[in-house]
Amino acid sequence: MGVRQWIEGWPVYRQWTEKDPSGRGAAAKSRRSDSLRPRTDQADRVVKSICPYCAVGCGQNVYVSGEQVTQIEGDPDSPVSRGRLCPKGAASLQLTTGSAREHQVLYRRPYGTEWEPLDLDTAMDMIAERTIASRERGWQWEVDGARTRRTLGFASLGGATLDNEENYLIKKLFTALGAVQIENQARV
């Protein structure tokens, strides 16, 4: 940077050239401030979404830059929420990108005192085997002489925070497996 440029960039100088004699406005503005843009402006795409908390169903706009979610805010187009969010909805960014989220499968072996990391593929295989075993163990062809064709060997709880498609597959698979103890938060 030349001396001249430096001088011209010096707010004291700009106070006189930019008609801001008291140095409280335009002259004091820094280069960073001058080029400041909202981070949503740099988003690669805006993805339409719905708030995952309560059942009001507020519309959300999810801003993505470099395959990272950088901002989540209300979708003004939604006739239900008109772009507004409550504190939980407003915390969606922290919910989805915050440090509280686990990204590793953890395993606690029988009688174990600590978590151990486990490979996802292995975990899925172990769970599939255990499901089959429990299903067989709790199988009931009949109860009191009436055909039931079911298992009480395993149960499932959850669904009110899940997508309809997820609930559908849960109900479909577990019913086909013969499980009847399929429940969710509708009761809780």
Binding site: S49, C51, P52, C54, A55, G57, E67, Q68, V69, D75, D77, P79, V80, C86, P87, A90, Q94, T96, G98, H103, V105, L106, Y107, R108, P110, T113, I127, T131, I132, S134, W141, V143, D144, R149, T151, L152, G153, F154, A155, S156, G158, G159, A160, L162, D163, N164, E165, N167, Y168, L169, K171, L173, T175, G178, V180, I182, N184, Q185, A186, V188
Partner: protein, 895 residues
Amino acid sequence: MGTSFGRGGATTFQQDLANSDCIVIQGSNMAECHPVGFQWVMEAKARGAKVIHVDPRFTRTSALADIHVPLRAGSDIAFLGGIINYVLEHEKYFREYMLAYTNAATIVNERFAGADELDGVFSGLDRERRSYDVSTWQYEGAEVQAASGKRDQLWAERTRHGVRQSGRGEAHGSGGAEIGTEPRTDETLEHPRCVFQILKRHFARYTPERVEEICGVPREKFLQVCELLTENSGRERTSAFAYAVGWTQHTVGVQYIRTAGILQALLGNIGRPGGGILALRGHASIQGSTDIPTLFNLLPGYIPMPHAHTNEDLATFVEAESAQKGYWGNMKSYLVSLLKAWWGPAATPDNEFRFDYLPRLTGSHSTYETVLEQLDGTCNGYFLMGENPAVGSANAKMQRLGMAALDWLVVRDFSLIESATWWQDGPEIETGELRTEDIATEVFFLPAAAHTEKDGSFTNTQRLLQWHHQAVEPEGDARSDLWFIYHLGRRIREKLAAAARDGTRKEADAERDRPVLDLTWDYPTKGRHAEPEAEAVLAEINGWNADAEPLSTYEQLKDDGSTACGCWIYCGVYAEGVNQAARRKPGTEQNWVASEWAWAWPLNRRILYNRASADPDGKPWSERKAYVWWDAEQEKWTGHDIPDFKATKAPDFEPEEGAKGPDALRGTDAFIMQADGKAWLYVPAGLTDGPLPTHYEPHESPFANLLYGQQRNPVRQLLRHENNRFQPSDGQPGADVFPYVLTTYRLTEHHTAGGMSRWQPYLAELQPELFCEISPELATERGLEHLGWATIVTARTAIEARVLVTDRVSPLRVQGRTLHQVGVPYHWGPNGLSTGDAVNELASMALDPNTHIQEVKALTCDIRPGRRPRGPERVELVERYQREAGITDETGTEV
């Protein structure tokens, strides 16, 4: 809601609240729990509507209401029953509406005896079995299928302990129960056995004086509410009700909602703009998870799960469960299409579309029974997907003990919630009741993907399916539940198929595995994680015809196997191959109903039963409240919304003799799912605990039932266990050991059991720890200090909470005594940033017999200053209380 009007969903939508002239928020703290929805209440208020908030505590909702009515938790039926009595006595009902659209004129058979005659119970009560024989509740001239001789005596006996206890009530989420042929009516409403007269007799004792004594609401205030509500209902004006779990979480929860249903039907507020009953649900897709149920007693679209014995084959099942009139008459098409969606080519007419593949129920299999089965070793594996029962469920200790008895447990969540770590640091580890080294349960924690990391639809509180698009791929091992369940199913199928190929399987094994191997399970996948295409699943839910073309309405469904549909009420969500739930035409570019934003079931109708917004002749009741009307020139129904009625059926239409299903509906039968086309003031079938709502005291109550000798709901569901002891109620020895009423609730700043809020610093700092709210009077009585500690004790456990002494909780005068209530938000647990004891540990497993929902909104407790004891002393304290109150296995289990 299903039993009153035909569908188990909010009758209206949130935006429509803006059109209300009076909004009653009861059993809900809308401003706190649904702040963004509350903007529509404010909108109504801006237009002059009155807002009434009925709640034990003065909340942020009350702060914005015109009137706050504090009432004793658990006395809502008495309050609403009082309003019904006021409406009937002062003839404030909307007579023309009532006559045209409700069953007020219908005559009930002479075997029926009401609670007014039988001191609080209805005819047909079997005290031993704790269940009702509902046949005496029927209309005159109409008989239930059971009596029509198609089933033998054995069936009847089995249903007593089968069907009755398994929550038939909920099966009417979409479609009223069947009642048979056309019942007799008396349009003059003077027949002593017509519903209107029965109603009058039933509610006659719900006088303002009684309301005051039971609810603690001064007479003057109660009458003010009556006046406001009735002044704002009728031809020109409409009022709306909004409720939430403040009503459902009781041993008579369904009847709470029924009471509001009766009131709204009498006042002519159903199906009309600014009217209705808005159920405010707490989870993003809780409506969706009952529509496509992850519930034991239902199949998608509110088709009941078949029971053992009772419904041996498809034909019998359909006969038993479907209706002759209304859209429920087509149940066979819905069910067959579902079976086709699941078992595809394997489901044929010859094998009854594999109806036999469905497992059969033998009673209740709710989450609370499951715990008992875990404890006795029957159930040894458990999937928890986005749920935290170690905090959120009633008597959470039982949940943890159940989990400690498992072989394996799979927890899918964002963070290490209490249900994943109870074996390490749960309360029982601290008290010494469990030792980590002794717990055999294998625990898998699988990180879940967030809504931004997957495609899918949520069904919101107004039955609106809204699609959320995937924004990014989930990191690390995090996966969607769709991925998990799809790949789990794929692996299980591969393993079973391999075993079958080995020839090591016995024949019985092969037969057992056939439903799994025949299952249609070939969804396309995408991306590096092989994520199943959610839209492909949605397309299956929507259904297709024989040419694999997407269906656009459930009226296209066939019972011959030529159509497949995963959930008939969602049929149309993928009409023309377009994801209708993903429609996002801005609200500002449409009329206020905004029909082109997403898609609502059924068939994108936003206000249900909106035929009733017009008079019997098809003309709007008033210009001000016009919504849907008959256009005589074009010979069709038209208006702001999509008519919830056959579009071309004229108001004067009379069905032909012998017509069935939808064709049997008259031009005035606005409640098209109901077997008689009417809103049910009186419910002749479909509920397990009475055709009319009756005030019962909560399962645990410091007061006697002033209205009847019957203290509690006689058929409430109780689960007995040494860790689930019940407390004595008023009049029983030891009742004074638990003199206060405790009610649980939510705060704006947290979400349910806290899994999605206690770990977020921005939310945790807003409500950093558990507290209880009490009145200054109770503080003085018990020596509790503001910001100090209190220990709250029930027969289940003792928890500690910081004390907030506040004017917002005021003592009530009930039955001449001063009643103190203790309010406790239930979001906390020991994990996360913001911590505290789990409040639902205090509650017992005492459930509504229809829905199996626990009573956590009104129970009794004691409160004392100081922190709770640590270690084994905590258990000893509870045992001391049990001894003092003389609690045994029998306490509280009286009919």
